[in-house]
């Protein structure tokens, strides 16, 4: 068959080429974050994300997180939001909050199909609220496993993304997150993303600005 012959041809050519020994890896000193305390990690995470114009709020409990969300909703004049159905967002009981605040809370489960969900998340949602699986201190980065309860477009299409993260999920470096996410080859997430700050570009005359295609604002509420 045409296809297997292309594959065979390419691999054959590569295999018959002269062999090259694999060189040794140089010694790599560990990153500073690996020896930080949790408070230092929080500080590092916050500094790095704020450098990218992210906003970081630290609250003590889920109740305080709801209070913070209320503040944000008022400041940003949120009318309709799309939210994930992950375990962290679940704990916040956003539908109840939405009713109280007069904010329409939508989740992907409300929609019968991809197209109607897309219409909502592209055209209606003022914000996307999601949990995150990790907060990585070394660059102020969120790590998110996409799955049924963590749809992709929620943290991408609306102009504001709010992420709620329990502080236990704070890790020093990407490896600490990746080790967990990719531990079992048989249960890999269809997509795993690292998000560092809002969307940005410098493609016109090198002028940097936020909010190119993805969110223009990113807010993180750390609980703990």
């Amino acid at each position: 068959m045409e296809q297997s012959s292309a594959r065979e041809e390419i691999l054959q050519k590569l295999k018959q080429a002269p062999a090259e020994p694999v060189g040794p890896r140089p010694v790599l000193p560990p990153l500073a974050e690996l020896s930080m305390t949790q408070e230092e990690l929080v500080k590092r995470f916050t500094e790095r994300l704020v450098e990218e114009t992210g906003v970081v709020y630290r609250v003590k409990s889920y109740e305080e997180a709801i209070e913070k969300l209320t503040e944000i909703a008022q400041a940003e004049n949120l009318k309709k939001v799309m939210v994930s159905t992950d375990e962290v967002i679940g704990q916040l009981n956003l539908p109840a909050w939405g009713t109280k605040q007069g904010i329409k809370i939508m989740t992907p489960l409300d929609f019968v199909d991809r197209d109607s969900y897309k219409d909502a998340v592209f055209l209606e949602a003022d914000a996307g609220i999601t949990g995150a699986d990790f907060a990585v201190a070394e660059s102020g980065t969120l790590g998110i496993r996409h799955r049924k309860d963590q749809a992709r477009l929620i943290s991408l299409a609306p102009i504001l993304h709010i992420a709620v993260v329990p502080i236990e999920r704070l890790v020093p470096t990407y490896e600490k997150a990746i080790d967990q996410v990719f531990a079992n080859k048989n249960s890999l997430p269809s997509q795993f993303v690292f998000i560092t700050g809002p969307s940005m570009t410098g493609d016109i005359q090198g002028v940097l600005f936020k909010g190119m295609h993805g969110p223009r604002k990113l807010m993180v509420i750390l609980i703990g």
């Binding site: 296809q3 390419i10 140089p26 010694v27 790599l28 690292f194 493609d203 190119m212 993805g214």
Partner: protein
Amino acid sequence: MEPRTEKFKELVARELHNPLSQKFLKVMPPIQNMKRSIGLSTFPDIEAAQAYGAAIRQEAIARLPELLEHFEKNALANGAQVFWARDAQEANEYILKLAKERGVKYVTKGKSMVTEETGLNEVLSQNGIEPWETDLGEFIAQQLNLPPFHIVGPAINVPVEEVRDIFMAKANLKEPTLDPVELGYAARLFLRDKFHHVQMGITGVNMAVAETGTIINVENEGNIRYTKASPRTQVSVMSIEKVVPTMKDALHLIRLLCRNCTGQKLSAYVSMDSGPKKKDEIDGPEELFIVIVDNGRTKIYQDLKARQVLRCIRCAACLNICPVYGQIGGYAYGWAYSGPMGQVLNPLLLGLEKTQDLYRATTLCAACKSVCPAGIDHPSLFLYYRHKDVTVDPYFGGKARPAQEIRFFKAWAWAIKRPWLWNLGIKMARPFINKNAREGIIRQIKGSFADWFRQRDLPAMAENTFHERWKNLKKEA
């Protein structure tokens, strides 16, 4: 993209006098270099971090067939489909077939240099399928029908007036503006609609991880994430050398890529796909097609010295540091790849005959080599290709040197072992070289050296060479 690598000198002359290009080149590369230094300083040991990256890429290339098979096995186990394309035509035809089968009218494209190489966009449009570049720089370059000025910022030099005009004509810009931010937001609105309704998206691949069968993309804008979230079909195109052994290796390379490219610790988004979406997910692709493209690379791989160019991670650090790129910009190199990485890659993909100037228009200053996180030795490759011309190497498509030059070096080699002849030659050359000398300065010599004298003098050849002066110096002791 049609190569114009044979027009190098002409394009250089034009670009050196292009005030817009020159204005950009005075400002941007120095800023990028500064950002790069600052970004790299977050490594405890910068040299070790760069050397480690080079070691990863060396291993990836050394183990290429094995890693590709491993990657494919794991990608298939994840539910992806894998297609191998020997050349541009096979890759383009396959992707076109996928689009036609699915009745797709347009695709959104994340930045993919290998598809620029294969000319995929032209094939799609000729067949009634509109390819929308969605990376802002690529979008602008596409609308203006311009080649890339820089591999990372392809339209970064384009003046805002031109961007405004093209956006008003083609991107629904209603109110004219010269504000890059407003222009960017206009593009956002225009392309948002495409992302919303797209049925098939095409991306490149920054890294393909053999260990897990995962493809990784690095971006700042979000257009790649859209292309991987919104449509039902995702096609990701990778050239064979993109594979890396492990996730840990990929992470280190991503740290290096972002710092070397823009000075960022991490780009805004890094997305890692291990197969299509799961059945119960509402967004993400139902089908993920990974296209593995050869297009001349297995041929490069046969040569142990040339194959190091396959280590390149497309960070563009070499462009930003190169003093030649800094004078002429990306257009002069005549193809998808510019700067030093283009100077080592284009000759291998297009053949030496078509790219004669690319590996000669360098002072061998080695700034590129000194910043490369993949450990590529560009200067030694430039010398290698020149040697392949001298030997008229058929494998590389070497082009014979001018007869006069060949004769010159034969005579030179003959004299070099015969000091009496060497020094006699110098004595005899002196009156010719000094013909136009006045007061110890030569302001003009006709012939192959003539261009030196447009802006520069040369000291006259000394009446007594050092060799002749040694007799006295010996006595002085």
